[in-house]
């Protein structure tokens, strides 16, 4: 089972942990629900849809309300640091039930805080079975700034965030120096620079007009179709991609194969939503099952044929 750690944009939302489900346009966790617009709720909604499509267990979430003041994030960091270190996730938690713990941990919209990041990393080092570690959004910023980026298995930057990873002096994308331009045709160069300064995870999934999957400096795959230019303006399309790839890695797929497949699925889901720059991300999430059907139908079976993937209904309506 995989877990997602992040925030929701409601200051009064309590710190909760548990399995996540979807009810129409909202995600539900421990008796609470939140609408899916962008950010961690969009990631989780995409992950839930992926799990439904693959007929696997739903994601486990650690969520707290935070509107940017950092108070909620710090409470969550503190709780997680204690729980990860002691292996005690409490009754009913998969860590206790299975004794094996989560196989994937994805960190998302959290207040970037290097001190707390380092405490979380130290706690994870004490875990008996170290999970695959994914970082995106604010937690990826903190991971880069901490100097421990290489401890992670996957970062999922867009082109601008990749420029930030490639700029060894920038503590936040806001300070990326101008000479490190984030032009699409310089992505391989920026990946190499981020790796040289040890500011990249072992694998990168760079989101953009063309998606790049890299392992170290090596480009493993590029995915450039279908192309829906409007997705650049839409909030949450990167979050859905992270949700899909996290769930796929949770099935046991390698990081690079999962990233390649997720990029294809996210692009097809976007295509099927017929987006304009005003489209909201929930419309893309609804297309994930159809996108999976399309991608699995067209894939080389030997490449991706794991047990959960063969459960995808490839006869999903094609219209």
């Amino acid at each position: 089972m995989f877990a997602v750690v992040g925030t929701v944009p409601d200051e009064d939302f309590p710190l909760v942990s548990g399995t996540v489900s979807m009810d129409d346009t909202r995600i539900c966790i421990q008796g609470h629900s939140v609408s899916v617009n962008r950010g961690t709720p969009a990631l989780l909604a995409a992950a839930v849809k992926t799990c439904e499509t693959l007929n696997i267990d739903p994601p486990f979430g650690y969520l707290v309300g935070d509107i940017g003041k950092g108070t909620g994030s710090r409470r969550l960091y503190e709780t997680l640091a204690e729980q990860l270190a002691s292996f005690d996730f409490g009754p009913g938690d998969p860590q206790s039930e299975t004794g094996t713990g989560f196989n994937v941990l994805a960190f998302h919209y959290l207040q970037p805080d290097v001190d707390w990041h380092n405490r979380i990393l130290m706690a994870m080092e004490k875990m008996r079975n170290r999970p695959v570690l994914i970082a995106d959004a604010g937690f990826m910023y903190a991971a880069k700034m901490s100097g421990f980026a290489a401890e992670y298995d996957l970062f999922t930057p867009d082109a601008g965030e990749l420029a930030f990873l490639a700029d060894e002096a920038a503590p936040h994308p806001f300070y990326t120096r101008g000479f490190i331009l984030h032009e699409e045709n310089r992505i391989p160069e920026l990946i190499a620079r981020a790796c040289e300064h040890e500011n990249a995870a072992r694998c990168l999934l760079v989101k953009g007009k063309t998606d790049y999957v890299a392992k170290g400096k090596q480009i493993h795959a590029t995915i450039d179709s279908p192309l829906e230019g409007a997705m650049e303006a839409m909030g949450g399309t990167g979050d859905t991609l992270v949700g899909i790839v996290t769930a796929l890695i949770g099935t046991g797929l390698s990081v690079t194969k999962a990233a390649t497949l997720a990029a294809k699925v996210n692009r097809w889901a976007g295509h099927y939503a017929r987006p304009t720059p005003a489209t909201q991300v929930i419309e893309i999430i609804g297309q994930i099952p159809r996108a999976f059907a399309r991608v699995i139908r067209e894939s080389e079976i030997g490449d991706i044929w794991t047990t959960p993937l063969h459960r995808v209904d490839t006869k999903f309506p094609r219209t």
């Binding site: 962008r38 509107i67 003041k69 001190d115 910023y141 601008g160 806001f174 303006a233």
Partner: protein, 164 residues
């Protein structure tokens, strides 16, 4: 001129202090902190040290005093100051640093906000999307992080381009 920086407890206070000092006419700049005082999502305000006491009095009156004033000896990080504009036909997108804001050109309604990774981005999007450009709350008022600050820059640029 000898320069110093004002260090605040959090980014929200920097944003408030910047408004107070700019309104009062002080020649200040919002910058990135030096490495030794960085904790994560940081901004500082660069001031002429000669005017430290007067500036601190202005801030005290407004109830937003800094934690400390530090002299600056090395160059500070400059915020990104380039904007990228993209035209989507009926829509226009402005990007500042890692934040993008898109409006419907005819109605001047904010239709999407994307990018960023700090927790106020989804909060700002909920508050601003669906509202007219001149009626939406500004990120400066309700944002708290560097991503919020970047969105403010995109918002100001969009207003400069689209409002009379």
């Amino acid at each position: 001129m000898e320069r110093g920086i004002l260090v605040f407890d959090n980014t929200s206070e920097v944003i408030r202090a910047e408004s107070v000092l700019t309104s009062a006419g002080w020649p200040i700049k919002v910058m990135g902190p030096p490495p030794e005082i960085r904790s994560g999502c940081d901004l500082v305000i660069e001031i002429p040290l000669m005017e430290e006491l007067n500036i601190l009095r202005t801030l005290e009156k407004a109830g937003v005093s800094p934690m400390e004033t530090v002299p600056v000896s090395s160059p500070l990080l400059q915020p990104v100051d380039l904007f990228q504009i993209k035209d989507f036909g009926d829509y226009r997108m402005v990007r500042a640093a890692n934040m993008k804001l898109t409006i419907h050109k005819k109605t001047l309604t904010i239709v999407n906000i994307s990018g960023g990774g700090c927790p106020d981005v989804p909060y700002l999007a909920e508050a601003m999307v669906g509202k007219k450009l001149d009626q939406a709350p500004s990120p400066r008022q309700i944002g708290h992080t560097l991503c919020g600050y970047a969105l403010q820059l995109a918002y100001e640029e969009m207003k400069r381009q689209c409002l009379p």
